[in-house]
């Protein structure tokens, strides 16, 4: 974990209100794992007072990329930053996805509460800008040698808001799309698309699912994973304060003897869906 002023190399709108930012951040680029995030101070004055968290979308040597949607004052300020300016960031932060990187490395899955002994393939489920961390994951899995096929399900409100479809295809992933208005692919929710995947039920080898998107979507996917008993990791989106595990402001309820709390910023943002208590 470092704090640094990262030089902005690029900051451009790639779709309506969706931006891609490229930063020069060698120390972070070298360490960051898929699912981890950086915590950015978008301006030196306030409000907004607190930093804003962004998951890392891509790493290219010493450069890291962010993909973000303008949702409020913080991201609005960020979207107006120019190339050559500097951004005060902390990172890499949090615990990312636990994924198979080599063929024999599927072992670790047994340690997960819902871990099976065999998995058929890898399914990534992205909702909206949730694609951000999942592209980094797909690239990291592909760079390893798992030989497991990757299926990517991308959901968006309409086709104009679909992101990264081509990037996943170029990696050799199979991609299926769901839009709520039916302008592209399956008409409906991406979680419905997941439930239609053939190998979910029965005793056959199960897929492992990684999901990132709005909390309602993750909740639905968590339910599906419980019903069909496949391992599933979800990356939670939460307002963060410190980002380093000190303030205890971002907790989620997890299973314990009754229940206990875990910090989204430090113990997550990626959690095994089986340990979360959805409310």
């Amino acid at each position: 974990m470092v704090q640094m002023d990262a030089k902005i190399l690029e900051n451009r709108e790639i779709a309506h209100q969706r931006y891609k930012m490229v930063l020069s951040a060698p120390q972070i680029g070298r360490q960051v794992q898929p699912g981890q995030f950086i915590h950015a101070r978008v301006c030196k004055s306030f409000p907004p007072l607190l930093r804003r968290p962004f998951s890392v979308h891509r790493v290219d040597g010493e450069k890291i990329e962010l993909l973000y949607k303008v949702v409020g004052k913080g991201t609005e300020i960020l979207s107006r930053k120019n190339r050559g300016e500097y951004l005060d960031i902390l990172g890499p932060l949090g615990k990312g996805y636990q994924f198979p990187q080599k063929k024999g490395q599927v072992q670790y899955l047994k340690e997960l509460p819902s871990g099976p002994s065999k998995i058929s393939d890898i399914i990534l489920v992205a909702g909206g800008t949730g694609v951000a961390s999942l592209l980094f994951l797909a690239e990291s899995i592909s760079a390893g040698n798992t030989k497991l096929p990757i299926l990517v399900l991308i959901g968006a409100k309409s086709k104009e808001e679909l992101l990264c479809e081509g990037d996943f295809r170029r990696l050799g992933c199979r991609v299926e799309v769901a839009t709520e208005d039916g302008t592209r692919g399956y008409k409906g929710l991406v979680s419905e698309l997941l439930e239609k995947c053939p190998p979910l039920s029965g005793d056959s080898p199960k897929p492992i699912v990684f999901a990132c998107g709005p909390s309602e979507m993750l909740k639905r996917i968590g339910k599906i994973s419980r019903k069909h008993r496949f391992p599933c990791q979800v990356s939670l989106e939460e307002h963060l304060t410190c980002g380093v595990g000190a303030c205890l402001g971002c907790v989620v309820k997890v299973k314990g003897s009754t229940y206990t709390y875990k910090r989204v910023c430090k113990d997550g943002p990626v959690f095994d869906a089986g340990e979360l208590i959805w409310e």
Partner: protein, 313 residues
Amino acid sequence: MRKAKEKPPNLRIKLAGISLRNPVMVASGTFGYGEEYAELVDLNRLGAIVVKTITLKPRLGNEPPRIVETASGILNSIGLQNVGIDAFINEKLPFFRKYDVPLIVSIAGETIDEYVQLAKTLRREKIAALELNLSCPNIKYKKKLMFAQDPQATHQVVSRVRKATSLPLMVKLSPNVTDIASIAKVCEEAGADGVSLINTFTGMAIDVESREPILRQITGGLSGPAIKPIALRMVYEVHKVVGIPIIGIGGIMTVGDALEFIIAGAEAIAIGTGNFVDPLTPIKVINGIRKYMIKNKIKDIKSIVGSLKCPKD
């Protein structure tokens, strides 16, 4: 002729018998148990660390949402989530052995006996001082009051803990009172070695679409730059009536903020919310104080404590 080398300004202070290398501390609840920030901040450069409040038993804390950002501030209702005194001593304290920084342990109880028991339990530990958190909005003593809102209860708890420990004793005061100076005076009379002020202001925020409070506990404690002018006024008022040292807390983000508190009468200051915004805030404030002293030819930081020049009537 060779100019005599200027002696570097002296930032060292002695606070209630504890020697601090500078007057800049980090406030309870905003710096975890130290380990969370150790990769980013050289802990040995801090004046002191006040760790997150410890209770006798572990506490789960409140249901989320626990924090919401407001205009230049944050509202929190964490609910004193902490590992409890035993786990603190066994799992958290050993971390500090490799550091050379005074550790102030913040404690809170639901009864006076709990405060006494906590103080006794910590008697043999290598810590610099205790801070009695009498002002946590999540612990109510009686009649929906915090200890620090009731002068009698404050007197009782401070004097009982005083008898139970020889460690220096700070008392963290609540701003949610009519006259904070009278409560500070009670602390002094009951044997406190210092007062830390202020804790958070009770506040709230509402989601107008759902018409629900944003925090699950409805209300929470407001901190950050939004409260700084009020905190400063309270330090000024308390400084006029007590002789024991004051630790100034409340929305300090810059060296200018810190100096205001010192000039108003604080012998030391603590950074709280500022740590979340920039973990290097305390270090930047320390460097800034040194620069200010050099520029203004101030040899010893003590000389400007309470040096406010008010117009004469």
